[in-house]
Amino acid sequence: MDNQSIFKYSWETFPKKWVHKKERSEHGNRSDTNTDYPFQLLCFLKLHTYTRVQVSIDICGVDHPSRKRRFEVVHNLLSTRYNSRIRVQTSADEVTRISPVVSPFPSAGRSEREVWDMSGVSSINHPDLRRISTDHGFEGHPLRKDLPLSGYVEVRYDDPEKRVVSEPIEMTQEFRYFDSASPWEQRSDG
């Protein structure tokens, strides 16, 4: 039951101020913390002898619009020495800035940029915070739940102007009529 003992060990040795929820499961141990502490918790995990997590796999931002602190920033970590994974989650809202974890994990630089770009959770003193996945001049954060699936602007190449222009979206909707009662393609009446 190695997962169990790793979980118990982390429960005992983490300072109690830092965690406020832990989950032990076969799908991956998880520990939740408050906004001030993810950097410290990650440094602890990286340096401590019995939890040598030296690899940061990914950082994601999840949007739960029903909550007050709507975003959840999830750090996925891997320990190559003990072959174990752990997730550290923090909650943040639109204006909270979290601390960057680039100094213990340099590979997190791009993931942090992506979190900023996609969900709008920025970091204090981040060495390099730019957009990474969206188009230049794109406004908005795509992975938020309030941005519609097709976005707000449409991009096309304009021949007279000889460049790409963005215009407000006018995707033709009349053929998009989904009637799930029948599997065959339906045409709307007008």
């Binding site: 060990y9 101020k17 019995y50 003990y82 072959n83």
Partner: protein, 169 residues
Amino acid sequence: MFLRRFARPLLAKVKETTGIVGLDVIPNAREVLISLYTKTLKEIRAVPEDEGYRKAVECFTRHRLNVCQEEEDWEKIEKRIGCGQVEELIEEAKDELKLISLMIEWDPWGVPEGFECEVIENDAPIPKHIPQHRPGPLPEEFYKTLEAVTSRPKLEKATAPSEELKPKE
């Protein structure tokens, strides 16, 4: 080739390479380890007593220090501690020292009032077709440390705590 075959017993004690890129062989590894562990034991005293962190660090540092002092040969040290090569152990000890100084700076000790930690035990099994990379066997020192950390010597005097627990200073 014959020279190596005859000279091998003489060369057995000298480590040629760690096999890890960027990690050089340290010839006097044992001395370095002993000095690092004694330094760690000194530094950890700044952490308040009763913290799981302090108990854990003291437990495994003491164990490793004992092993290093008993064994002369780096190979035997590696085998007994069971946690990788001596150069890796040196790195771990240095990181632990860094961590202790950082923890002292941040000072997160003590349990705040009204502390509630929700512990979710999710026993949903993983479907069988997904390959799992189970963690390998943890070094047995880990289990002893876990025991040392979880048993509470003040409250439970009846159940004998493990011998690794240090007496109260």
